[in-house]
Assembly symmetry: C2
Homo-oligomer: 222 residues x 2
């Protein structure tokens, strides 16, 4: 393996794998995608060697060394290719961005996934309420700004918009519209999805929806 190459171990629908893809595109770094075609079953030897602890995508391989965990990978990308900066320059700005990234990592995707995993109307209602409450917190973080990171698209936008690639599926299975609940957050989503670095890699919402449908069948939900 050439040591200069940047390689991403990826799975096309993974919202977490989308993060390094967008970050690398923002930095205009060329990289090779190695698709883990069989992620639900067998994992490649390269994935298991590169991420022995979790055996999960994404893994960034740079100079022959693996970096794991999507939020940590985005930080690595920002430190390795500093222009344009994704994280704020000051320590306080960095700590705020990391705080919200951590909040999102702990809460957002799991809450959204509960919507399509829920069986029965009442369970769906509870899951939807929890998810929308989190979105409202994030809408508060966005405030009147164009981007979560401030005036320009940055670290926190990448962390969040990547997970939003699944929101259409959440809306379909929860029978609700984020636009009705959180209009400012929804406008931010549209703004980000139109951005070149995002548009280039984000999977089609209907394909994610189909994939989630397949997961529901697999888990015996429908």
């Amino acid at each position: 393996m050439s040591t200069d190459k940047v390689i991403l171990l990826d799975f096309w629908v993974s919202p977490f794998s989308l993060r390094p893809k967008i970050a690398l595109a923002e930095k205009s770094v060329e990289f090779e995608i190695k698709e883990e075609a069989d992620l639900l079953g067998n994992k490649s030897d390269l994935l298991l060697q590169s991420n022995p602890i979790y055996g999960k995508v994404p893994v960034l391989i740079h100079k022959g060394k693996p970096i794991c965990e999507s939020t940590i990978i985005v930080s690595y990308i920002d430190e390795t290719w500093p222009t344009p900066a994704l994280l704020p320059p000051c320590a306080y700005g960095k700590s705020t961005a990391r705080f919200w990234a951590d909040y999102i990592d702990k809460k957002l995707f799991d809450a959204g996934s509960k919507i399509w995993m829920a069986k029965g109307e009442e369970a769906i209602k509870v899951a939807k309420k929890e998810f929308i409450e989190i979105l409202k917190v994030l809408e508060g973080v966005l405030g009147e700004k164009d981007y979560c990171s401030g005036e320009s698209f940055g670290f926190l936008d990448i962390i969040t918009i990547s997970l939003a690639s699944w929101f259409y599926a959440f809306e379909q299975y929860g029978d609700f519209k984020i636009e009705d609940e959180c209009p400012k957050f929804s406008a931010w989503m549209k703004r980000c999805f139109q951005r070149e670095s995002v548009a280039k890699f984000v999977p089609e919402p209907t394909k994610v929806y189909e994939f989630v449908g397949m997961l529901r069948k697999m888990y015996g939900i429908e």
Copy 2:
């Protein structure tokens, strides 16, 4: 409040609050501790204002601004007072330290707490097994080095040794010795506990044990 002051919202037995205390001591930064005396019941207005999302210690207040979440606080301290450096200088070293800090944050303390929370011999056995498996992974990270961070005490040592302040209580309630299971990890613990920045702030093992005993009564475990 003076804006130059460094204030830590603390609770004496919190293993997470120990992290910023050790990091500030390593940097020779003077700080004022504000004890949340009534953490199990009422929280101070300052804590709720400073950490409205979680309402939890530790919170570092620097230049009048709050920084929350212990691992993020230690990063902030390292960026704000750069000497001596706690995180490695290179992006790859940083990403490795962050990966293990994240692993520890996700697994170690919860697994240990399951030991004293367990009811019945079988449950204690399962909890102990899980906890020791995690310690063995961390012993592998330590390898033959004196410190997790390498030749000198650093970020990952602070993240880990702070949680180790509860390990005596885990051992007592699980009836085992870390020294027997993970001798190298145990030697590292002793090395760290003797360090001035740690020894100055780490609570007495027997006091932590008593505190855990109180928690057990509160939760109706004994």
